[in-house]
């Protein structure tokens, strides 16, 4: 069993899992019916991707491992998502900014992952890239609407980008498992995507009349399984049924 490959898959899929979970919390509470549907749709896409990744990871592990045991039965430290995606749904400005920063990164990642030597990962990336292109268009357009909309929306989204900026650097960190996978031509060297990420983000921010934050200090830990205080509550809800009623079919 290739443990590095499994950890690598978790590293990618957990971002979609946790962000999908956050977006799912918003269902029925959006600022308009159209945005409500769009955010739920993104959540659905992300969970769809998660299922492909976890089904693959389960197959690699065999025995009793399933997509659900991976999704619901790990300890907090075993989730390898970045801190950005677990940040709470404070308001629409935060939701869109979190989405935008993740989408730009996600699209760059998948563009490279479709060239992976691992055929399954390449295939998942190829399928997901169509969805993530749409997510990126949606969140970029909303960054512009909020940034260049009213004074109130401008201030709110500027606050969100200022607050969430410190979580961007972690997107480009590589774990030990990542490094092994990169050397084998399976994984993507995300550190090489950093420059292009900030360039693309800056372009949109400029068009949205927003300031790029001048912040030199960044947060990290998610990729090592060391999360924020928010994560425990998110998992408590997500894992509730599986923990309260173990070993059952649903």
């Amino acid at each position: 069993m290739n443990n590095n490959l499994i950890q690598y898959i978790y590293g990618i899929a957990d971002n979609s899992l946790i962000l999908g979970q956050r977006l799912g919390e918003l269902c029925g509470h959006g600022p308009s019916l159209e945005t409500d549907i769009a955010m739920t749709n993104i959540s659905l896409d992300l969970f769809g991707q998660v299922r492909s990744y976890f089904q693959y990871a389960a197959k690699l592990q065999g025995e009793d491992v399933t997509e659900d045991s991976i999704a619901f039965l790990r300890k907090e430290r075993e989730y390898k998502n970045v801190l950005l995606v677990e940040q709470p749904n404070k308001d629409f400005a935060y939701q869109i900014t979190r989405q935008f920063l993740f989408d730009i990164y996600h699209l760059l990642l998948l563009s490279e992952l479709q060239n992976s030597k691992d055929e399954t990962l390449a295939a998942i990336a190829k399928k997901s890239i169509k969805e993530v292109s749409y997510h990126t268009r949606f969140s970029s357009d909303w960054m512009k609407r909020l940034g260049d909309g009213t004074e109130e929306s401008h201030n709110k989204v500027q606050t969100a980008i200022n607050d969430l900026w410190e979580f961007t650097d972690e997107l480009f960190h590589t774990t030990d498992a990542d490094k092994v996978m990169i050397s084998e031509g399976i994984g993507v060297d995300v550190s090489l995507l950093k420059e292009l990420f900030y360039k693309k983000v800056n372009e949109i921010l400029e068009e949205a009349t927003l300031q790029t934050p001048d912040i030199k200090y960044f947060q990290k830990g998610g990729k090592q399984g060391i999360h924020s205080e928010h994560m425990g509550y998110l998992l408590a809800q997500m894992q509730y049924m599986q923990l309260a009623y173990p070993n059952m079919n649903w």
Partner: protein
């Protein structure tokens, strides 16, 4: 317009409906027809979006990825139904904002069933199986109602509802075939949702104030009591098939009429919930009002941005 001219128009209008032709938004229609349709269609749209809330309550706790995805997709369908039912209602000369205002102020109603809480995962099954099941019985006849935009919207709504109903039944069936705890969860959900589902089909015929006119306009094709009987006859064998017990000691097959006799419903509870005093009325409305009010700055931003973009295009053209 003289009285005679109006009478002529009314006669032509009635004849058109009698011929099973559709009334379209730009056609002449009696004011009462317009108002009745605004009332019923918006009530239907409101039910779809308020109905997202009790199910949305379980997205974050769905027990498997497959169930989570299916639940999200189902609720998204409901948002879609709301969207095109509001659009269809707008063709009658009222805006979505006005319709929301009526919902938020309590002037417009929505299906009372959504004022009951979703307490366990089994409730996701019960809602699909029973609530969507009852909704389909109400809605299938509307696919051939007289107002074109409503009839066309209902064709799609019914297809999706039918899928939701099967999905809900499948959730309940899985529980009924599962562990003792799961079986109890399924039975408990049936106990709580059965009577409110029967009440979804409306008051007793003797107490229904809108039925006669609605029959004429094909907004209603069967009476509430007939629809209820149809629902019971269809659902009881399904419950038996999976080993669940309908919580009605008076339920009994009537060989002579070839359908079930059933016990008396608690109409005091029905009217209490309709009048706004059910377990979740306040929470449901406050969730909708909060979403609308907290989203105002977002909608304002989108409008301001669109205006700026339009001005840019105009300037470039000059």
């Amino acid at each position: 317009m003289s009285d005679r001219e109006v009478k002529n128009l009314e006669e032509m209008f009635d004849a058109k409906i009698a011929r099973d032709e559709k009334i379209e938004p730009k056609d002449w229609m009696p004011e009462k027809y317009r108002q009745t349709h605004i009332r019923q269609m918006s009530q239907h749209a409101h039910s779809e979006i308020v109905g997202m809330l009790p199910e949305g309550n379980w997205i974050s706790r769905a027990p498997s990825l497959k169930r989570k995805v299916a639940l999200l997709a189902k609720i998204q369908d409901e948002a879609g139904h709301g969207l095109y039912l509001y659009s269809a209602t707008e063709t009658l000369g009222i805006s979505r904002e006005e319709l929301y205002e009526q919902l938020h102020s309590g002037k417009a109603k929505y299906s009372s069933i959504f004022n009951y809480p979703t307490l366990t995962w089994a409730d996701m099954g019960a809602i699909g199986w029973l609530v969507d099941g009852a909704a389909i019985i109400n809605q299938v006849p509307l696919c051939s109602t007289s107002f074109g935009p409503y009839a066309r919207a209902m064709v799609r709504v019914c297809k999706e509802e039918s899928f939701h109903q099967r999905q809900g039944f499948q959730i309940i069936m899985t529980l009924a075939e599962g562990s003792q705890e799961q079986k109890e969860m399924a039975q408990d959900a049936l106990n709580r949702w059965w009577w409110p589902s029967l009440m979804m089909l409306g008051p007793l015929d003797a107490e229904s104030i809108h039925t006669e006119q609605s029959m004429k306009w094909k907004l209603k094709r069967k009476s509430n009591d007939d629809l209820r009987q149809q629902f019971i006859d269809q659902t009881v064998p399904q419950a038996e098939m999976i080993g669940l017990t309908i919580p009605d000691p008076d339920l009994k097959w009537n060989e002579e009429k070839q359908s079930y006799d059933f016990g008396e419903m608690n109409w005091d509870e029905f009217w209490q919930v309709v009048k706004g005093h059910g377990p979740c009325n306040k929470e449901r409305i406050s969730a909708r009002v909060n979403a609308w009010e907290n989203g105002k700055w977002v909608r304002d931003a989108a409008m301001a941005y669109a205006e700026k973009q339009e001005n840019k295009v105009v300037k470039q053209a000059i």
